[in-house]
Symmetry: C2
Subunit: 138 residues, 2 copies
């Protein structure tokens, strides 16, 4: 298996089981964020529960981050090795209503907002819905 996969798991302190290596490898190859059902389909035969728990472990250990794009299916994408998923590190996500793909706009940090007095932000989910560059011509 890939060196970088094991390295990532090691950095985030996740035991590199065969299943986890496989899942992270698949997630790393995606050009867009995918959900549990889509992940399931990339296996000839795989158990939903195991994949589900693998994703959960990954999110807990910040190997990947989850994106609620409003479609009813939570999407996932890999984090950088240095990511701690703090509000200040988060980026904007984009959901294209034509091709249905959810993508990380890694270059666009979520703007800092001034919450009302005494509010505490632990996490922020910002999803822009519209047309991606591929779908927005013709």
């Amino acid at each position: 298996m890939k060196k970088s996969i094991d390295k990532s798991l090691e950095i985030k302190k996740v035991k590199p089981t065969a299943m986890r290596q496989l899942v992270l490898d698949i997630l790393s190859k995606q050009d867009h964020a995918i959900g549990l059902p889509e992940l399931e389909m990339q296996f000839a035969q795989a158990d939903r529960t195991t994949l589900y728990r693998t994703l959960k472990t990954f999110v807990d250990k910040k190997v990947i981050h989850s994106i609620d794009d409003g479609t009813g299916t939570i999407k996932y994408a890999v984090c950088t090795d240095t990511c701690h998923c703090n509000p200040s590190e988060l980026h904007v996500h984009f959901y294209c209503i034509k091709c249905g793909k959810t993508t990380c706009l890694t270059d666009i940090p979520i703007p800092d907002i001034q919450l009302p007095e005494n509010y505490f932000a632990e996490n922020i989910n910002m999803v822009v819905k519209g047309l991606c560059d591929r779908c927005n011509r013709g």
Copy 2:
């Protein structure tokens, strides 16, 4: 009281049936955004489908707006009479992980972000997750 309900429906061009008046009245009285299941519970006996379709009509006609707060249950809150739900009119929402309430931060507009070339934004969902002022002391 009932006057303003009918007025709102009229402005948004929704026929004021008994059901719709009732639902909008309930929604107007909330101090936080509520979902279909919670709405259903506010009736002694009510049909989920009718409430579901009422909410859908309201969203379509921009009487209310929907909020995906990441809990798996879409929440709804009334729009202002002048709201057209354009990206520039949208505000930030807050989900409190302690009291579980989702609220409109109507005073905090969603910051304008610079999308990559050729991207088109139709809608934006921005939800801050954390502790609300009530829950963030003690």
